[in-house]
Amino acid sequence: MKYLHQGALFIGLAATVAMTPFNAQAQTCADASQTPLTKIRLDAIAASQGIPLSQVGIRFEEFALRTIRPGNPVPSNRRLFPSPLRQIRSGIGNVQPDGVVPLVVRLIPFPTLTFPDSVFYESKAVRGTLLPPSYERYQILGFLDVLGRSPASVDNENPAIVFMTTSDVRTISARTIVEANRRGIAVWHVIACEIAPPSGNLQLGRAELLNPGVYLDPGRIPTGYGGPGSIGRI
């Protein structure tokens, strides 16, 4: 949601980059004692709580949006965003991300800039996919298409998308990363984990950046895209 602009002190820049997990490896839990949450385990937790499978999606989405930023839940989005590219590829002319928040840019020592509708949060409790651009009738490509024309992009800043997933999504598809890089969009990924002992208490790990180049080239320092989340249940 936030990053510092190139006006940051170089010492600060170097220190922050070194501490930021920039490698695109499988995501981790907030605590080593936790177990990455698979879709199958999520379904089992739901069943044990009397929640039917038809409710698992909305429950996981609510959990993710509510907990990813402790004390500052991401509001549920209720708007459609036109996507000409998705229209061309699949005949669906819009996308509806789960959460939409502004991008906040701190220009040290200048005033903070805010760009509306430039960070998307999307939850996926899925298996057998790494969320390529074509997933769900080009929904993922639609997100990137919209963010690529967002107020942040128009002002040559970096919009972002944060995928909050079950652990089946080990990382995000390389094709999605390529499309994001092309548009200067940062792709963040966070997985859900189950707290030990297994009783249905869940926590999102830390959101990790999968394509640091979008920030490094213009010399920006990303901060605060969420996670570790607060503990919650579906």
Binding site: S54, S76, V95, P97, K124, Y135
Partner: protein, 211 residues
């Protein structure tokens, strides 16, 4: 009331058919019968002891397990909608759809789509019998059964979303998109309404709940 009707611009609601979006988690039961008879059947089935008829834009008291039965003006299907609440213990199920179909001797569609889970599913019931059923999990599974037509699952697998959208259109039905941004809490006194859904677009909406 913090429920929003989300729709793309263009076709007037009266003429709109198909699925508004596949980008949300949605569950509806559509019944080819009047709001009055659907509300009666559903309240009996689920032991709903609160029933406010023709409640759109009227002040009501919110109780537990809030459920709406309504019909858009110009549409042939009544819709059962139960907003998600964390405390809810009653869910809309395919068994409910089957029961309502049987008790009203009519057609019923159970539809659920989840973009979070990459799934889409529908069941079509006629007089209590399931005559067509599709269950799809993207890149994982596809099941299709029909007593009405012969379609190779291979054909559907190519684009199960479009297949489902076409099915809904062929039924002259419409799956709307409602987003509830705040929970309905028992004890609230509020005006029953859905943001961006004009009163003249609603033929009738009834409120059901448990006290």
């Amino acid at each position: 009331m913090s429920i929003y009707f989300v729709r793309a611009e263009g076709v007037p609601l009266e003429q709109r058919r198909g699925i508004e979006t596949i980008d949300r988690n949605i569950l509806f039961i559509l019944v080819r019968a009047s709001v009055e008879s659907v509300a009666q059947a559903f309240s009996t089935l689920k032991q709903m002891n609160v029933w406010v008829s023709d409640a759109y834009e009227r002040e009501i008291d919110i109780h537990n397990e809030s459920t709406f039965v309504f019909r858009f003006r110009g549409h042939p299907w009544s819709i059962i909608y139960k907003p998600y609440t964390p405390s809810g213990r009653i869910y809309l199920t395919e068994e409910d759809a089957c029961s309502v179909s049987e008790s009203l001797s009519t057609s019923v569609i159970y539809y659920t789509g989840s973009d979070t889970c990459g799934t889409i599913e529908y069941h079509l019931y006629s007089n209590g019998d399931c005559v067509e059923k599709l269950s799809f999990e993207e890149r994982i599974s596809l099941e299709f059964q029909s007593q009405l037509r012969q379609v190779e699952t291979r054909q559907i697998r190519r684009d199960a979303y479009t297949f489902t959208m076409n099915f809904i259109c062929e039924q002259d039905a419409y799956i709307p998109c409602f987003v509830a941004v705040e929970d309905l809490t028992a004890g609230q006194h509020t005006t029953l309404g859905i943001e961006d859904l004009m009163p003249n677009e609603v033929e009738r909406m009834d409120y059901l709940a448990q006290q």
